[in-house]
């Protein structure tokens, strides 16, 4: 079957009809086309190994192998198209789903993910990420924000003030993401805005990942004395990633305004009945 698309006057997102995964994003104003494959993976949490008895826990992120496992290689999808919204509903597993959404006039793609409760019946702690893979040649560099203000350049396996001996190739390249993370090849920039503080990284050129949820069975021995395992409402998380594709020159204008609108989002209050209309004057 032909590729599935959702589009408005600014953006077109294309999905692979065989896998149901996001395949390509196009900025139609700038005529930018970027193959983007996005899906969910999970790292198996370390419980300690020959190198170190350090387990992954509330303080420490330490996967037991470098390569994360896919939550699913494909998603069951449903398409919703109305004049006011276009959505692709992706179901990856019983505990992981996502809605990719586009409203008219919107210059970004909205990814609303729902993850949890993460199953741990197999006694493996799991740390779930959303990963975007692109062919961008990013030369080991990616960018994260410092509390929504300054943007800091991050370099894989590198520290600007000392010679790094990288012993944790995944965790050692994770950085705090308060509002945004991006990768660029100097011409094109892929930016992802978050709705909360998360951890993020770019572990391969052209790749960008954000950790969305964790459920662990061991305490990391750093003072909490509890494994990171919520059983109540905290077992479920729902959040949003806003994805922008733009030229490297124009990208900041887009993500700064959008992040402002995300952090200071409109507040909805309801009142029963018909009531009199409030006149703006």
């Amino acid at each position: 079957s032909p590729a599935l698309t959702i589009e408005n006057e600014h953006i077109r997102a294309t999905f692979d009809p065989d896998t149901g995964l996001l395949m390509e994003i196009m900025n139609m104003n700038q005529q930018l086309l970027l193959p983007v494959r996005q899906t969910f993976f999970w790292y198996n949490a370390s419980i300690g190994d020959n190198e170190s008895d350090q387990a992954s826990g509330a303080y420490i992120f330490r996967p037991n192998q470098q390569k994360p496992l896919p939550v699913s290689r494909w998603a069951q999808i449903h398409l919703v198209k109305t004049p006011l919204v276009q959505e692709v509903h992706q179901n990856f597993s019983a505990w992981c789903s996502q809605v990719v959404r586009l409203y008219p006039g919107q210059r970004h793609l909205e990814l609303e993910w729902s993850v949890g409760p993460i199953p741990v019946g197999d006694t493996w702690g799991k740390e779930v990420i959303s990963r975007f893979d692109t062919p961008l040649e990013t030369k080991g560099r990616f960018y994260t924000d410092s509390n929504g203000r300054e943007i800091l350049e991050r370099r894989r396996d590198y520290r600007p003030t000392w010679k790094l001996n990288q012993t944790e190739p995944v965790a050692g390249n994770y950085y705090p993401v308060n509002t945004r993370i991006y990768i660029t090849d100097g011409n094109m920039q892929l930016t992802v805005l978050t709705d909360r503080s998360q951890g993020g990284s770019s572990l391969r050129d052209g790749s960008l990942e954000l950790m969305v949820h964790r459920r662990l069975l061991k305490d990391d021995g750093r003072g909490v004395s509890e494994p990171l395992m919520e059983n109540g409402s905290g077992a479920w998380v729902r959040g949003r990633h806003l994805v922008l594709l733009d030229t490297a020159q124009a990208a900041a204008a887009g993500h700064r305004l959008l992040a402002e609108q995300e952090v200071l989002a409109p507040q909805v209050v309801l009142a029963p009945g018909g009531g009199a209309a409030y006149n703006l004057g």
Binding site: Y59, E87, P104, V224, G234, R238, Q267, L270, Y278, L280
Partner: protein, 172 residues
Amino acid sequence: SGDSAPLNEAMAVLQHHDAVSGTSRQHVANDYARQLAAGWGPCEVLLSNALARLRGFKDHFTFCQQLNISICPLSQTAARFQVIVYNPLGRKVNWMVRLPVSEGVFVVKDPNGRTVPSDVVIFPSSDSQAHPPELLFSASLPALGFSTYSVAQVPRWKPQARAPQPIPRRSW
């Protein structure tokens, strides 16, 4: 009387990394939630008082705290309600309002009484409790201000056997 100080104070406590990154014990996390909830209540009263003053009349305002998971008892049960949307930014914003509703057809009117385009989206899931229909409309919000939209459910048009009519499209 309303008060924003308890929420201010709870938010101040929650700047600690234990609350931001989840490095607290579970009973501490529960206490963070308790402090936030205790602060939210009087702040809702403060906001309601402010809105009543600005709008010129008192109303029973409802804050739907679970809108992110499509739960809002008022919009899901009332046939008529008002939607007040406050924009904290110093510039005008167009924002898509999404509210869970019962199935049906709705008319949405802007602050000037003009009908605005709206849509009820029914999701591809058999579980209507987990995925209720959602009413969508675009709200135009002034800088550092609010707009009030009114929503009314209208009866479905039922075809008459003796007087066939073209089926009206949901064009609101």
